[in-house]
Symmetry: C2
Amino acid sequence: SRSLNLAVIPGDGIGQEVVAEGLKVLSAVLPQDVKLETKEYDFGAKRYHATGETLTDADLDALKQHDAILLGAIGDPSVPSGVLERGFLLKLRFAFDHHVNLRPSKLLPGVATPLAGQPEIDFVVVREGTEGPYTGNGGTIRTGTPHEVATEVSVNTAFGVERVVRDAFARAQARPRQKLTLVHKNNVLTFAGHLWTNIFNKVAAEYPEVATEYIHVDAATIYLVTQPERFDVIVTDNLFGDIITDLAAAVSGGIGVAASGNINPSGAFPSMFEPVHGSAPDIAGLGKADPTATVLSVALLLRHLGHDAEAARIEDAVSADLAERGAKPARSTSEIGDALSVRVAG
Amino acid sequence: SRSLNLAVIPGDGIGQEVVAEGLKVLSAVLPQDVKLETKEYDFGAKRYHATGETLTDADLDALKQHDAILLGAIGDPSVPSGVLERGFLLKLRFAFDHHVNLRPSKLLPGVATPLAGQPEIDFVVVREGTEGPYTGNGGTIRTGTPHEVATEVSVNTAFGVERVVRDAFARAQARPRQKLTLVHKNNVLTFAGHLWTNIFNKVAAEYPEVATEYIHVDAATIYLVTQPERFDVIVTDNLFGDIITDLAAAVSGGIGVAASGNINPSGAFPSMFEPVHGSAPDIAGLGKADPTATVLSVALLLRHLGHDAEAARIEDAVSADLAERGAKPARSTSEIGDALSVRVAG
Ligand SMILES: CC(C)[C@H](C(=O)O)[C@@H](O)C(=O)O
Ligand SMILES: CC(C)[C@H](C(=O)O)[C@@H](O)C(=O)O
């Protein structure tokens, strides 16, 4: 009999509520012969305030034992900006070498978009997750004085760029439209930009079926609102990926439905799956949060672990649920989770 | 009698066509007693191919003699990415210390937007123009090998941040809504982000009338498509400003109408005004380019030099022209320029 040994990190704010629904749907979709084991971890603002810890070496050792990690949200206004982000979220991505940050965007029928004319949106962003301006390199001198200088160093390696570009080409080749867009700013950030562009062009030669294009990040934001249908797979740097995936989420149904995977394709460390939205402290505890993004993150998790049929069942359930939302009164977090559980089991 | 001594840089692609219309409207709007002198400069791809030069010290000395600079567009596919951008556009911004990059976004009545429901959009982005990831700091080692490392260094100084933050507060205070939003990514880029945030908060204390908020750049892209009306003045870093102003242009009528000023508020060097769009080589020479963005850049130029009434006449003419566009057949570049010239003179 098979098993799924999951680390669960509800985290802060609405993280608790949405993760509960994600687990509910996961239990409902899993075949009888897959034994689900979950272990909950208390990372986030509460633990930070109580102990000053964000993520210790012992924590990392414990997390390593799991097949995958499901995360709700980390972040609270009571903690200074950057402490939990750098001390937990980014520390985990870097420690477990989550270099493929996968963020699909699909505008499902019946879902509201801020764009006029209900465009066709179905693309996936492969965001690099372990390099670029996210490395924490840099510093300050004369801190707090009128002569302060603060630097941020974007670090990019051929090794790091090539592995994520290869991952993106493989994904593009496996999709019907077989198109890959590189998004960067190679006319200004020429050192990193030329590295990305040269590796992209080199790997492209091995994938003659995949149509390629290059778009500057500023222009990409224009296309995301004027021609989102032009995109199939996008590969991009860590920071550009952060920015364009929030925009992509906004145009394809909002961050209430945007899922993501922080993937280590080698399997050397467990991958982590999380909704793109944050902890939304303003609505925490009210049962108002939409658990759909977490449920879709569970689908990404299942697909990553090879449970493709179950992943598809979740995605179909979400599509069906979203299609009916316009016609129905608003539901609570757990009502949406219940409805999705019924659908995936049915 | 007064004079206006203008450097004109048509540049590449549609730059030639749109600048001609900008000058046409400028001549039509200027009062009789203002003597307009223009000198054309041949910067861009042609000169680069002929001489290998992009912008020499002698060029900078010549440009310094002018009251202001009007630029069309620089860039051509025949020139490797980055050469003209770093060698001309950015070199000029840095040499003339254009630290206030001003980019207004206003959705005028009758103008198409990709957003549903015709939202109210009327904000201005104050983008820092001489620091951040645009400094050209960084480099590569083991270039072209599988062990290449490429870095990009974002350089931020208290001096550079404070002057642009002060400029933005002054602009916010002078506007009816008196609101200023800082856009950064201070939870990840903590060194630069805290510098920006601390200075923003310090200067805010001197402007009690101005309401302030902080938004991460990724979230800002969401608000730009879901709640653009929330913005009044935005102040941000050079790269974030590049990205969000293209998105802002897209939602408020497109880059066909987006104007910008590269301003040195001290007047130590002439300021430069240019449409946000590029050289669009695919439509160059066809008379299809919309000169409106250039004409609005001329309005920014006039306002910068104190010709407020003339600037307003241009803006009113553009509003009236745009309001009627939907009902009329498409016009050529020069027909639009002619129509605007008639309106500003009338
Ligand atoms: C919270 C923050 C560290 C994170 C990021 O910037 O990657 C978030 O915005 C995201 O997109 O997952
Ligand atoms: C062409 C490029 C150097 C420039 C920039 O990145 O600033 C352009 O995108 C702009 O916004 O003016």
